[in-house]
């Protein structure tokens, strides 16, 4: 791609006039290019393409029978135009990467971004700079996501179903686990992260789970031991939830699944006030006569109480809710997490929204409480290690919708950011259903193809150049392509994600994230900026260890 700046503005992006002979068909939306200004190189992204005539009549007048005339007019009278948005400016003298605060002048030359340009911005892969994919049409340049920044805030992975959200999540989880920067707790609704999952690729068929890749660093908890066993998984722990740990708030969270109305919710709070922690168990086992007297005593409506009891009986059918479980699941999870392990909670056959939301809510609420206490202690005592925790939830719009999002524990975590060292990784296909306040708090978004206008609008709300990115988003492939923007990447980038296959497994297991195919110079700029320490070669390490 070669061209010159035709016109443009800082806010609206630039029109590039392609040089004669350049093929617009070969330029994909989402690719990178460099605008060579006088002092700066501007790294820009292709946002849109169109055809413009210098003289509007020309479009209609050109004869199709004269190829010579058509050729003359193409590129002079009728222009192939590419719309780009500068994202970063690179000082040509000292290589500093900075935000764009000025614009290149008219007729500045534009060229395709070279390997070094992209490399300078995204850096060399290492343990904290996680290689997540490649820029479009540059399959040998790693695009890295800065994990330290990633876990600082809550993040989102969005895309309509079938676009590979699960794979992006797996890849990000692998990166986080491998980096050791944080612990992860995955509420694995479809039991696809812990052990083997399905791979739609016919040659691979199965995708390895986290336990297979990281062994002892990952513990699989299950709500449905039978299902786990049938799939050949040996869970580390079977989770049982005592009635006592179910709060009125937890029930309020699943009001839709239990079909509760506002009155019922009010009654629940009355019940909890009256019976304290045992409210649910006592209420479910309350005979009709007692309900009547309770109604009289508290001034509630006995009919409403009976209806509520009938609705709450659904909870009794959930096999993992026990009166007196042998162990406390939350304590056990915390124990594993404290030991630096990552927990995947499989739901097995208990994949109803009711079970998923209830369990996720109960566990997260208590874990969050513990983290709040711990981070308070850590404030006063610096020796306490407080490793950040990333909680992965699927079908996030159920937890974070407009009605429940603001009060729920998940909404709270998303809003308070890293304050208490707990952040979320929300995975969802309907971002438009998520509360806009929560969405705006998400630090980094990994967005696969979305087609619903509402979803695209909401996922890009608050992003710079949202209008233009919209176009980029709509042109993504259905598989293995995603737009990453936000806190953990220096600029929005469209990537082809790494293939979750043997090469990736090897990278995760050997501890060597260096890209075998890339032989470019380790860019000075990137190394100097400090976020780019190249891993030692295996041989160097051997020498250091054994002195041979």
């Amino acid at each position: 791609m070669k061209g010159t700046i035709l016109r443009g503005s800082l806010s609206g992006g630039f029109d590039i006039r392609l040089d004669i002979g350049e093929e617009i068909e070969k330029i994909k939306v989402g690719t990178f290019c460099i605008v060579e200004g006088r002092t700066y190189d501007f790294l820009a992204m292709v946002m849109d393409e169109d055809i413009e005539a210098a003289n509007p009549k020309a479009i209609y007048e050109t004869s199709h029978t004269s190829s010579l005339l058509n050729e003359i007019v193409k590129g002079t009278g009728i222009l192939d135009k590419v719309k780009i948005q500068p994202m970063l400016a690179i000082d040509r003298e000292d290589g500093r990467v900075m935000p764009v605060k000025s614009i290149p002048s008219h007729l500045s030359k534009v060229r395709e971004a070279a390997e070094n340009d992209v490399f300078a911005v995204f850096g060399n892969p290492d343990d904290t700079n996680f290689h997540i994919g490649y820029p479009l049409d540059m399959e040998h340049i790693p695009v890295c996501i800065n994990l330290e920044r990633f876990i600082e805030r809550s993040n989102g992975i969005f895309g309509k179903s079938g676009t590979g959200k699960t794979f992006y999540t797996r890849i990000m989880l692998c990166g986080m686990i491998k980096s050791g920067l944080c612990n992860t707790l995955v509420f694995d609704m479809h039991s696809e992260y812990g052990w083997e999952g399905k791979d739609e690729d016919k040659t691979r068929k199965k995708a390895k789970g986290l336990k297979q890749l990281f062994g002892a660093e990952v513990a699989i908890f299950t709500l449905d031991p039978e299902s786990s066993r049938r799939r050949g998984v040996r869970p580390d722990y079977v989770v049982e939830i005592p009635y006592r740990s179910i709060d009125a708030e937890d029930i309020a969270m699943v009001w839709e699944e239990l079909n509760l109305n506002q009155t019922a919710l009010e009654v629940i709070f009355v019940l909890q006030k009256h019976f304290a922690a045992d409210w649910l168990f006592k209420f479910l086992n309350m005979p009709a006569s007692e309900i009547l007297s309770f109604a009289e005593e508290t001034g509630s409506h006995s009919g409403a109480l009976q209806a509520l009891q009938r609705k709450l009986i659904k909870l009794q059918k959930l096999p993992f809710i026990k009166e007196n479980p042998v162990d406390d699941a939350v304590e056990r999870i915390m124990q594993y997490i404290d030991n630096g392990m990552n927990v995947v909670l499989e739901f097995g056959h208990q994949r109803s929204m009711l079970a998923y939301m209830l369990v996720a809510n109960i566990l997260t609420r208590r874990i969050h409480e513990l983290y709040v206490m711990r981070s308070e202690k850590a404030l006063s005592n610096e020796t306490i290690v407080n490793t950040p925790l990333v909680i992965v939830i699927e079908e996030a719009h159920k937890f974070l919708n407009r009605e429940t999002g603001r009060q729920s524990i998940f909404g709270m975590i998303a809003r308070e950011m890293r304050k208490n060292n707990v952040t979320l990784l929300v995975v969802d296909q309907r971002p438009s259903e998520i509360d806009s306040e929560v969405l705006s708090q998400l630090g980094t978004k990994i967005i696969a193809l979305l087609t619903e206008e509402k979803d695209i609008d909401s996922v890009l709300s608050g992003a710079n150049h949202a209008k233009m990115l919209k176009n980029v988003l709509a042109t993504l492939d259905t598989k293995q392509q995603a737009l990453i923007l936000g806190h953990a990447v220096p600029m929005p980038v469209v990537i082809r994600t790494r293939t979750y296959g043997e090469d990736f497994y090897n990278d995760m297991q050997t501890g060597n994230t260096k890209i075998s195919g890339f032989k470019g110079n380790v860019n000075k700029r990137a190394t100097e900026s400090g976020n780019n320490v190249q891993g030692k070669d295996f041989e160097d390490l051997m020498k250091e260890l054994y002195g041979t």
């Binding site: 004269s66 005339l69 050729e71 003359i72 009278g77």
Partner: protein, 189 residues
């Protein structure tokens, strides 16, 4: 020598041919050596008429062969003059595609340009603006003729026409309709 300059202006000159029927082609390149300066022109029109400027030639209603046998004298009473737009000039070995500081003197001999000279002049497409703005009012026709003359001399005539066409389009303020009318007359490919 094919002609002699009989009228001269900054932008064009008129020359009378040595023989009334030996005329440089429309759109062909001619040159006049004026002191140290060599002025190049593009033939933009021609006229043949009576030697005596006051009267017109008469019609005889006979074939040319019959006339040559019966009335050979009438041919020596004819004269031809042609106009040429000034395309540029060569001085001290450098070609400039603009008007010389002083228009050419009268009675200087006019020669045809060699192919090498035409190639050199036409490397720069500056001559096109002169042909387009030809004072005779036949700019499009002249431009097409000049392009026909020039393009075949280049190694890759199509490539040449493409580049010239692009320049022409800018000169025509992107009027593709007019470009079309010019390019359609360049049927050498």
């Amino acid at each position: 020598m094919i002609a002699e300059v009989i009228e001269s202006k900054t932008d064009q000159f008129v020359a009378e041919t040595v023989k009334y029927h030996e005329i440089p082609g429309f759109g062909s390149f001619v040159k006049v050596q004026d002191g140290t300066r060599r002025i190049y022109g593009i033939v933009s029109g021609a006229y043949t008429g009576s030697l005596d400027g006051s009267g017109k030639a008469r019609a005889f209603f006979k074939s040319l062969q019959e006339l040559e046998l019966e009335q050979p004298q009438i041919f020596s009473l004819l004269r031809t003059e042609f106009t040429a737009v000034v395309a540029g000039y060569l001085e001290a070995g450098i070609y400039r595609s603009y008007y010389p500081p002083v228009h050419i003197r009268l009675h200087l001999p006019v020669e045809r340009c060699t192919d090498e000279e035409v190639l050199k002049i036409s490397t720069n497409t500056g001559f096109l603006i002169k042909t387009l703005n030809c004072p005779n009012g036949n700019g499009d026709e002249l431009t097409a003729a000049a392009l026909r003359t020039v393009a075949i001399l280049h190694d890759n005539p199509k490539e040449y026409l493409l580049n010239a066409g692009r320049e022409l389009l800018k000169m025509l303020s992107y009027d593709t309709q007019r470009l079309k009318s010019v390019i359609e007359r360049v049927d050498i490919l």
